[in-house]
């Protein structure tokens, strides 16, 4: 699994961090998404897919 984020689209909803804090974080200065782990382990796959599905700005793409 490979994750691609689009920081320009992000609206700092925090949905991805609530879903998988191990993979996503937010920048201190403006809350925009930061990718901690672009190739997360398999046991986080379901949570990552959930994060992409709830991202309101469609800023998370998951390539399987």
């Amino acid at each position: 699994m490979k994750i691609v984020i689009d920081q320009d689209r992000c609206i700092a909803s925090g949905q991805c961090v609530s879903a998988v804090g191990e993979v996503f974080d937010q920048r201190d200065e403006d809350g925009v998404v930061v990718l901690l782990d672009p190739t997360p382990p398999a046991d986080l796959a379901a949570a990552v897919r959930q994060a992409a599905a709830v991202c309101p700005a469609r800023a998370i793409r998951v390539e399987e």
Partner: protein, 405 residues
């Protein structure tokens, strides 16, 4: 619950809830959703915007850049009449990008999930203190006044740098501002009062900055990145959105749980953060207090759900019925705290999705996770029929909730 709609007639929106189902959306919404994802409805001024009733179409349209939240555009379906002297917007919630993004980005930092998490111990202390006071005082008591309203008000005051001592002033004016049936002149006056109040506070922060969000906005004014009226309006938006919403979720959520004792029991007996967090998501979905729908206007022709929305058509995306769409949530009318409700649209969707959601989630988790465990005998001190519901509010809830223990 089952109601039929004559397809030849344009139904009125908003419709009334069924008398004995205060937690369910109006039956007409169920009927329209069954017929299709979109329907024309008639609103207060006689215009006929589209009502979008299904979950998938709501999410698609709310995330579509051809759809505008700009309240000043012709065709925008206002939820109530506006006074002639004041049609101005309450900041970025009613603006499009790039202006929306410019302003929203200035206030995103304090609402990140990790920053909000650092406030949890302070919120726990507030919640425990209010429960201590409640238990030490007379019973019955109005839970709205004693608990549901002070929790988010104290927190948002601290975050913004607004003196809590002024809470009667801003709570009263907020109430008028978000009442659908308030007189337009009265609503405009309440908005002007709040803007004036926030403008004074911003002025004070310009001279004596502190560690709060309004002080950060004052810095932006000094740096020439923001005007003072913009800062005051953002302050109003954050103050109003920051307490009215969560307060209604706490009070209405408590009532819904008292009416579903098996579900309440789950919360009474647990300190599992996962279960409590899941319960908060399910209550957000099930109650969907922002029951006036997200309001938008189409900028271009859009083909969706077998219909063509024309440029200039108004759109009402009824997230309350979206959250009861059986295609998205099996057995949607059941309150089931153990289900996975995270995909709900109670915070909206697209670029306007709730800025305060990490804060709202944390406050609800602490409130729901503490109140029923500490007051296991909590009960309604009146009949359900006597509870005054906010049928006339932009935000649904209860005006009063007499409880005893």
């Amino acid at each position: 619950m089952t109601e039929t709609v004559n397809p030849a007639e344009v139904p009125q929106f908003p419709g009334a809830r069924a008398a004995r189902c205060p937690f369910d959306p109006p039956p007409v919404l169920h009927a329209l959703q069954e017929q299709g994802p979109l329907a024309k409805v008639k609103v207060w001024d006689g215009s006929t915007p589209w009502l979008v009733t299904r979950y998938e179409e709501q999410r698609a349209l709310l995330a579509d850049p051809r759809v505008s939240a700009d309240v000043t555009r012709p065709g925008y379906p206002r939820s109530a009449p506006v006074a002639s002297r004041n049609g101005s917007a309450i900041s970025f919630i009613l603006m499009d990008d790039p202006e929306h993004a410019r302003l929203r980005r200035m206030v995103q930092a304090p609402f990140t999930v990790r920053r909000i998490e650092t406030l949890r111990p302070a919120v726990q202390k507030i919640v425990d203190g209010l429960i201590d006071d409640m238990l030490a005082g007379p019973s019955p008591v109005d839970l709205v006044e004693a608990f549901a309203l002070p929790v988010p008000s104290l927190v948002i005051c601290e975050l913004l740098g607004v003196p809590y001592a002024d809470h009667e002033f801003f709570q009263d004016n907020s109430k008028i501002l978000i009442r659908r049936e308030a007189d337009p002149e009265e609503r405009a006056a309440a908005f002007a009062q709040l803007v004036g109040y926030l403008d004074d506070l911003v002025g004070q922060k310009l001279d004596h900055p502190g560690e709060d969000l309004l002080s950060r906005l004052a810095e932006r004014i000094k740096a020439g990145e923001l005007t003072r009226p913009e800062a005051a309006r953002m302050g109003v938006l954050l103050l109003v959105a920051g307490h009215e919403t969560t307060a209604n979720m706490i009070a209405l959520g408590t009532l819904a749980l008292l009416e579903h004792p098996d579900q309440l029991d789950l919360l009474r007996r647990t300190d599992d953060p996962k279960l409590i967090a899941g319960a908060a998501e399910e209550l957000l979905r099930y109650l969907n207090i922002t029951h006036s729908g997200r309001r938008r206007v189409a900028l271009e022709d859009i083909e969706i759900g077998g219909q063509v929305i024309r440029a200039g058509d108004g759109l009402i995306l009824a997230n309350d019925i979206g959250n009861r769409d059986p295609a998205a949530f099996p057995d949607p009318d059941r309150l089931d705290l153990r289900r996975d409700a995270r995909r709900h649209v109670a915070f909206g969707f697209g670029v306007h999705q709730c800025l305060g959601q990490p804060l709202a989630r944390m406050e609800l988790q602490v409130a729901y996770g503490t109140l029923y465990r500490r007051v296991p005998t909590l009960r309604l001190a009146t009949e359900l029929e006597r509870i005054p519901f906010k049928h006339d509010g932009q935000v649904y809830g209860v005006y009063e909730l007499p409880v005893a223990w």
